[in-house]
């Protein structure tokens, strides 16, 4: 233990010099030595006058070696560095400073081991504070060991990077899947269109009278080719929606005109099921904000669904309700309603109430999921109310044009 | 002793006042032209200027760009930058132009040092 600390050499009174010289004999000295941070004090002559136990261990320099020496004598490598200028600033202009680990990769040469092994260097966050006492200026330097924090953040950074890379791979795969689906569907559609054309010609009899049994087989082939084309068109729509390639031309749309046109298109389909469409009063000139073709696609889907699930001889009621700038189009059928256990899945892809229904009812099971995506892309929403055995009402909500 | 003409370019009026007061103190007979911007300074190139003291940070044209133009327009003038931007990159640009570089704040000694180049 050094006894060379004298109050006439450094700017400190004799009581304090006593504590600094042999901290283990004094309560406050013990407190300083038990601190988990490195602490040292510099006086206005830049001489070190306090050096706690943490500093002794991390620097491998004993009190006797440093007390009374200037900061630069103890750390010659730090001459002209920022730490020297902030110590000067604390003593000259009484400003407190912070040196972070991120912006000052190497602050003090301090190590966890006596061997000064670079891999065992202590990562530091340093604070420099001015102190005044008895008319003298001092500067307190505190060193906080942030090694655990640095290590933890390094791990987090690696994890974040890996997560991002994994996400990129997943996005890449998903994009590939969409492109693949879209390409395959296009390639399927071309030959299928010509098959349907040929079958149609044969079925119409222009190629010669058909035997009844051949006519029946050709009709089956025709219907199934038709279904396959619908399915491919729906799959193409889905993949366009998923890859964000479906374009929307939004603008004012005359709702009544679109509804009338949509009903006309579905009239023949409804007749197959012996179902009539009935449009309740719509105020002329009701204009919504939408893409005409896409809105028509959704309405066609809902109207054909309603006919499909209606009992023979009933009507499908279509009404328009306006409330708070939102226009709701309701399509109500008087069929069996939607089974409770199916309600939550109804807008999912390839979902139909009962697998066995598919053949009887027809359709791809993609229509509602496409409709939902389209309505949402147009800023609206889709939903339904139903009671089993009584019927179902599907509705879409879109914005009134004036409000956009 | 000959009469000299000094051009002071600085967007800060107080800075121009400070520089001017030191010059006038030493050489009351010298002609002093003040400009608040680079563009304004360029309108004075017709006059025979012996010394230019130019600030770096100014709205519009910066001091180095102005000095560069002045160097070819008035080759006989001694030019010095006077700037709060004390980064090395700026000093290097001044050095490569062969003009003086003095750091703000403005003090009498610093201005006297610049003046001595043309006295």
């Amino acid at each position: 233990m050094s006894r060379s600390v004298r109050s006439d050499v450094i700017n400190i009174n004799s009581d304090e010099a006593e504590i600094i010289a042999s901290p283990s004999d004094h309560l406050f000295g013990k407190v300083l030595d038990l601190s988990e941070n490195g602490l040292f004090l510099v006086d206005s002559d830049r001489k070190i006058i306090l050096w706690n136990e943490w500093m002794v261990e991390a620097s491998s320099l004993n009190r006797g070696d440093v007390i009374g020496s200037t900061f630069v004598e103890v750390f010659p490598g730090l001459k002209g560095r920022r730490i020297e200028s902030v110590i000067n600033a604390a003593l000259d202009t009484r400003t407190a400073s912070l040196l972070s680990r991120s912006l000052n990769k190497v602050i003090f040469p301090l190590y966890f081991s006596e061997a000064r092994d670079e891999a065992r260097r202590i990562e530091q966050s340093v604070t420099v504070k001015p102190i005044q006492s008895d008319g003298h200026d001092y500067c307190l330097i505190q060193i906080i060991d942030v090694t655990p924090m640095v290590q933890r953040e390094d791990v987090l950074r690696v994890l974040a990077k890996e997560a991002e890379e994994a996400l990129q791979v997943a996005e890449e795969a998903s994009r590939f899947k969409s492109e693949f689906t879209s390409t395959v569907s296009h390639e399927l559609r071309t030959p299928l269109t010509s098959i349907r054309g040929s079958l149609g010609l044969i079925a119409s009899g222009v190629m010669g009278e058909l035997k009844p049994e051949i006519g029946r087989l050709i009709a089956i082939a025709c219907n199934n080719t038709e279904r396959l084309l619908f399915l491919i068109n729906d799959i193409l729509d889905i993949s366009k929606i998923e890859s964000g390639k479906m374009d929307f031309v939004m603008g004012p749309v005359d709702l009544k005109a679109v509804l009338l046109q949509s009903i006309e298109v579905n009239q023949a389909y409804g007749e197959q099921y012996e179902v009539k469409y009935h449009l309740n009063d719509v105020i002329d000139g009701t204009t919504v904000y939408a893409d005409t073709d896409r809105l028509m696609q959704v309405l066609n889907n809902l109207l054909s669904n309603a006919a499909k699930f209606s009992p023979k001889g009933t009507e499908v009621d279509i009404s328009v309700i306006q409330k708070d700038g939102v226009i709701r189009v309701e399509i109500k059928d008087y069929g069996n309603g939607i089974p409770v256990k199916f309600q939550s899945r109804i807008f999912e892809k390839f979902s139909q109430a009962d697998g066995s229904d598919t053949r009887k009812i027809g359709g791809t099971g993609l229509g509602l999921s496409i409709s939902k995506a389209i309505v949402e892309k147009m800023g609206g929403s889709i939903g339904f109310d139903t009671e089993e055995g009584i019927g179902a009402t599907f509705y879409i909500d879109v914005s009134l044009y004036a409000d956009v | 002793m000959t009469e000299k003409t000094v051009l002071i370019v600085d967007d800060s009026r107080v800075s121009r006042m400070l520089v001017k007061s030191v010059v006038v103190d030493r050489h009351p007979e010298w002609v002093i032209i003040e400009s608040g911007s680079g563009d304004e300074a360029l309108t004075h190139t017709g006059e025979s200027i012996d010394l230019m003291i130019i600030d770096f940070n100014m709205p519009g044209m910066d001091g180095i760009t102005l000095a560069e133009k002045m160097k070819s327009l008035v080759p006989s003038a001694y030019i010095s930058m006077l700037t709060a931007n004390v980064q090395e990159s700026i000093q290097r640009r001044a050095d490569s132009l062969g003009i003086g570089f003095v750091k703000k704040p403005i003090t009498e000694d610093k201005i006297a040092g610049i003046i001595s180049q043309v006295e």
């Binding site: 040196l99 991120s102 912006l103 924090m149 640095v150 991002e164 | 009026r13 709060a84």
Partner: protein, 202 residues
């Protein structure tokens, strides 16, 4: 709003720009990157007007650093940037490649240090102007809206703040931030009279 003459404003701006120049030099040396700092605007505003200025000019939240001052001036000094700008400053200076949603502890500390350098420069130039001593504390990271930061709701005295716009130039992009010093009325008058004395000495 307190009226100050153009000449007074010019003088304060010049003094602040000189100290910002040296703060920029320190920062650029630390990060090996050209950094420019300047103060294009100085205003004296009431606390709630300053809060409004934050809330109106930046719909987003602000984040930055605060230090408290003691001595010739008592109060707080703040350096604020729109929250996402704070992130880009740190990213540019630290050169981190991983996009993380918010600032980590280490990055907050780095921001504190950047703020510390800038605020110390501002505070010491004000202290030089006053020819008095101002002690400043260590920086603390804060964020919030204008009214939260200026505690408009909880603080009933509507004292004046010195409001500086700061241009932080990094990598060919310029990021706008704000430095505010909360001043009490006495120190403000002291400040203005010191200013006049020094201007008349020119």
């Amino acid at each position: 709003m307190l009226e100050i003459t153009e000449l007074q404003r010019d003088y304060i701006t010049e003094v602040l720009n000189i100290s910002m120049g040296s703060a920029a030099a320190v920062l650029s040396e630390m990060v090996n990157e050209e950094v420019s700092l300047s103060v294009p605007e100085v205003d004296f505003l009431q606390r709630n007007a300053a809060a409004n200025k934050f809330d109106q000019t930046n719909a987003a939240r602000m984040s930055g650093v605060t230090q408290s001052m003691r001595g010739a001036l008592t109060g707080d000094a703040l350096l604020m940037f729109p929250e996402e700008k704070t992130l880009s400053i740190v990213r540019i200076l630290l050169g981190d490649t991983v996009p993380v949603e918010s600032l980590t502890e280490m990055e907050q500390e780095a921001m504190c240090e950047i703020g510390n350098i800038i605020l110390n420069a501002v505070v010491s130039s004000v202290a030089d102007l006053l020819k008095k001593e101002i002690m400043s504390s260590l920086p603390r990271f804060i964020k919030g809206t204008g009214s939260e930061i200026f505690s408009v709701e909880t603080c009933d005295n509507n004292d004046l703040v010195m409001f500086l716009k700061v241009d932080f130039g990094l990598e060919s992009q310029s990021i706008n931030g704000y430095v505010t010093l909360m001043l009490n009325v006495d120190s403000l008058h002291d400040f203005i009279s010191q200013l006049d004395e020094q201007i008349s000495a020119v």
